[in-house]
Amino acid sequence: MPDTVLTGIGVCPGTVAGPLLRIAAAPALPAPTTVTDIEAEVARAGAALTEVVAELGRRADRAADATVAEVLRSEALMAGDEELRDGVRELIEAGHDAPHAIDGAFATFREIFAAAGGYLAERVADLDDLRDRAVALLLGLPMPGVPSPGHRYVLAARDLAPADTADLDPAQVIALVTEIGGPTSHTAILARALGLPAVVACAGVLAVPDGARVLVDGATGRVATGVDDVEVKAAIEASARLTAAASGLTGPGRTSDGYAVKLLANVGSARNVPAADEAHAEGIGLFRTELLFLDRATEPGHGEQVADYRDVFRAMAGRRVVIRTLDAGADKPLPFLNQEGEPNPALGVRGLRVARQRPEVLTTQLAAIAEARAETGADVWVMAPMVSTVAEASAFAAAVHEAGLPRAGVMIEVPAAALRAADLLRVVDFLSIGTNDLSQYTFAADRMCGPLADLLDPWQPALLQLIGLCGEAGRAAGRPVGVCGEAAADPLLAPVLVGLGVTSLSMSPRALPAVRAALSTRTAEDCRRLAALAVAAPGPAEAREAAG
């Protein structure tokens, strides 16, 4: 029997066992020591900096993303800086020990960077990270950040931010467990993209000793310690049987009586397209364009955008690609938009609202999409995020057509838009429901707020009712209504969504086989019956019970 079983919310299925390692905290500077051998101390500090440079180089070598690799190499240049080393030497000669000399030498540049503001001030965090790494090496402490022990392990953290995981090595990390976070947090999205079993909102996980073996079940949310080999083997085999059942099916999505439901993939760049193909996706239901804009002081130019979009369109020639215009703001602030200082960013100028202040960002992007489309044979549909009114949808559709693009749609993320779905479909060609944000705005519950995770359950009947309004409007108008939020990846929920009138489901490629399998066991009539039961249920647990 396991020693302890912790329970969180399973957000990506799969069962694995391995030693648990935490994201290490930044090391504290110890009390100063007296240096007797100055040259030895200089050598010690130099060796630590050299190892930091080497480590960054190794991370850059294995980073799959060229931008991430370039950022890491820039940081390596900073850690290997000769002026920095001269500064360290001077401080050691003045009587400081190696950790304090390194701290002091970085502090000189830190002050200049912080005082300069803007781009340089944002690099202060990089300097602090480099200093922490060098100091940790000197003190024999684990490197701060995601561990890289050279073997497979379960990564535990309070929460994971995109910066922590940009170069996470899937060859080493076999599962993610976080203390906070909900089903739509960054951890959950990352886990699905990488196909890693993951559990969020798992209270007590940070009390598990580093290195202890844990058994993680990403479907049930169970994290057990002190399990023996027999239990581990049985659990992993049971999980593998489920996966095997799903992987036998290929081809377009359909119910058992042949009602077609397009199964599409969510991607962020051409890098994700092979995974979509492997899962037999019928196209792309959500092409997020934020990646190209992240960490940029200036907007990417027309040519750079064309190249990026073209890569995806070309790989999808002949198939549908729904591309979403820039979804900036809230959890994805972009430096070039200068959005600091909003009291409540989730309710601020984000998504399509950016076009109120910076219309040229949208027109540049639409022109780039149009040019990329013209050079390829993909069936390109364009949609805007964070639309609330018919007027916004109408203005967006006009801009899309102005750019020479044939199909315009809007995302349904705000209850106001869901309530007016029929009116929206008079001015746009399709709707795509972003269930993560629609939950957040319907239940007034922050997506990143762990204690409110139950409100963000995609089985909440109120959420399903709003989806049903959109589905009904789509049926009446004869226009497509898709779901591209995390809810689309839930095999039990998929038939319910179809019953509510949803005509396509877009998800992480990894989730596609299980959803395809789930749909193939139900008739269209089953789906409508299950949908009615789920909407009529008093709460998410009852909805799951009635329709799951």
């Binding site: 900073m78 200049i112 960077f113 200036t298």
Partner: protein, 91 residues
């Protein structure tokens, strides 16, 4: 001493990618090159932190200096690099 004064051409300034490209080029040069902005103290061009700390934006004038064999050629190459828009398409 050979010098070149040049205006930063990269849209984002001498930051991020442009800074990395410049510093890497300077580190490979056969002579030691310094860079300064206005009347401030010259700093080594192969020092990433010092180059970033210049805070040079697009349009900022900077001066390169070097001495020794190959100084002129090196300065010509580096000045040309700074004048270019290194943020522009590189696909």
């Amino acid at each position: 001493m050979p010098t070149r004064t040049v205006t930063i051409g990269s849209a984002s300034g001498l930051h991020a990618r442009p800074a990395k490209i410049f510093v890497e080029a300077a580190a490979k040069a056969p002579v030691k090159v310094t860079i300064r902005s206005g009347d401030r103290k010259p700093v080594p061009a192969r020092s990433m932190l010092s180059v970033l700390a210049l805070g040079a934006r697009k349009g900022t004038e900077v001066t390169l200096e070097a001495e020794g064999d190959g100084a002129d050629e090196t300065l010509d190459d580096l000045a040309a690099l700074l004048a270019k828009d290194l943020d522009a398409d590189h696909a």
